[in-house]
């Protein structure tokens, strides 16, 4: 008999039968398999970004001179805004774990509370990203100039009248005015073809594509969280005495947080 077989087998021998090697239900495992494939997609995007940034290192913009805005502060504050976005996403990951934890204990009210905060965190993050995109696309009042000799000069909205180059050199006063007067082109803001941050469209392209792809994942996550929130609220999981659905969307949500950790490092820190 099968029970006899499992009795003679030591529990440590994983593959000798009577024991599920993964000990996991299929729904949760399918979510994991999807996340592995999604992780490969994001890895490919970030590695492509890394390879091209490495190739064009000499003209690639310094992120500290691009993402300098912060609401209500008229100064250059690099990293603070994305730091805040990172904080929001980590925080919403914590509330998601607490929702999963409450679900394990079959506590409907607590699951709803924590899932609700996770949705709030998701909306805060999406709003922050919209603000970030707005400033990236709008750019500064004066933008950047492609000079007659082919060099790429940026302006600084806090110091009108100066021009600065990617290697750190600065030109001021009449000399700057003369260079501007003979400039071939003035670029303001960013789109897929050109941007005022550096003399390569790749910087803007990767920014839009990778943060956009991640942002769409966050949006999908918020939608999934809202669906599960409604299901919990209407007592669907309560009747089944099974809150594994919360765990499945939780896995997706943490994965979105994980991807942001990598985007934060490779787009803003490095």
């Amino acid at each position: 008999m099968s029970s006899q077989a499992s009795a003679t087998t030591a529990p440590e021998k994983m593959w000798s039968g009577g024991h599920s090697p993964f000990n996991m239900r299929w729904g949760k495992m399918y979510m994991w398999i999807f996340l592995i494939s999604d992780a490969f997609t994001f890895s490919s995007l970030i590695i492509a970004y890394g390879a091209l940034r490495h190739r064009f290192a000499d003209i690639w913009p310094d992120p500290d001179l691009v993402f300098t805005h912060f609401p209500f502060i008229h100064a250059h504050v690099p990293l603070m805004y994305v730091g805040l976005m990172t904080f929001i996403l980590i925080m919403s990951s914590v509330t998601m774990v607490l929702a999963v934890d409450a679900g394990h204990r079959l506590k409907k009210a607590a699951t709803l509370k924590w899932l609700g905060w996770t949705i709030v965190g998701g909306f805060l993050f999406l709003g922050s990203q919209a603000w970030e995109w707005y400033h990236f696309i709008k750019g500064s009042p004066e933008g950047a100039y492609v000079l007659a000799d082919g060099r790429f000069a940026r302006t600084d909205y806090l110091e009108p009248g100066i021009l600065f180059f990617n290697d750190g050199t600065r030109v001021v006063g009449a000399e700057a005015e003369a260079l501007k007067a003979t400039a071939v082109k003035n670029i303001i803001g960013a789109n897929l073809k050109e941007n005022e941050y550096g003399n390569t469209p790749l910087f803007g392209d990767f920014f839009f594509f990778i943060t956009g792809f991640h942002g769409f994942h966050v949006f999908s996550g918020v939608v999934l969280n809202i669906i599960v929130f409604i299901m919990v609220w209407r007592g669907v999981l309560e009747r089944k005495k099974d809150y594994e659905l919360v765990e499945k969307v939780g896995l997706y949500w943490h994965f979105v947080d994980l991807v942001w950790v990598f985007v934060f490092t490779f787009f803003y820190l490095v």
Partner: protein
């Protein structure tokens, strides 16, 4: 009797899996992630050479991934064969990083 024994084993392991991630651990992981991020932002403003900074950021990113995947996504408390199933495919990603950066250096420089 033997069935009972089996039940007890699997029930005990499930109990272990759940109790391993209590509210206290969740908040501990939160503080670790927050402090690592604050540390990263802080050192980016110092005069430490860029090469050292880049490798520090990459190492700390892997530390953060460990806590998110291990604790938040609960992988640390899943069965060992499942952990291998999830993690092993990423050897290919390491290989891809190597090819992309190695070949990327020559991109567009060799006449076609």
């Amino acid at each position: 009797m033997t069935d009972m024994h089996h039940e007890v084993v699997s029930h005990a392991s499930e109990e272990k899996a759940h109790s391993a991630l209590n509210t206290k651990t969740i908040w501990k992981v939160f503080w670790i992630l927050l402090l690592v991020t604050v540390f990263e932002v802080a050192i980016s403003f110092t005069a430490i050479p860029k090469v050292v900074l880049i490798w520090t950021f990459i190492a700390l990113t892997i530390v953060k991934s460990y806590y998110i995947v291990g604790y938040f996504m609960h992988l640390k408390f899943e069965e060992v064969p499942f952990q291998w199933t999830v993690l092993l495919p990423f050897v290919l990603i390491v290989y891809l990083i190597f090819i992309a950066l190695y070949e990327g250096t020559a991109l567009g420089l060799i006449p076609g």
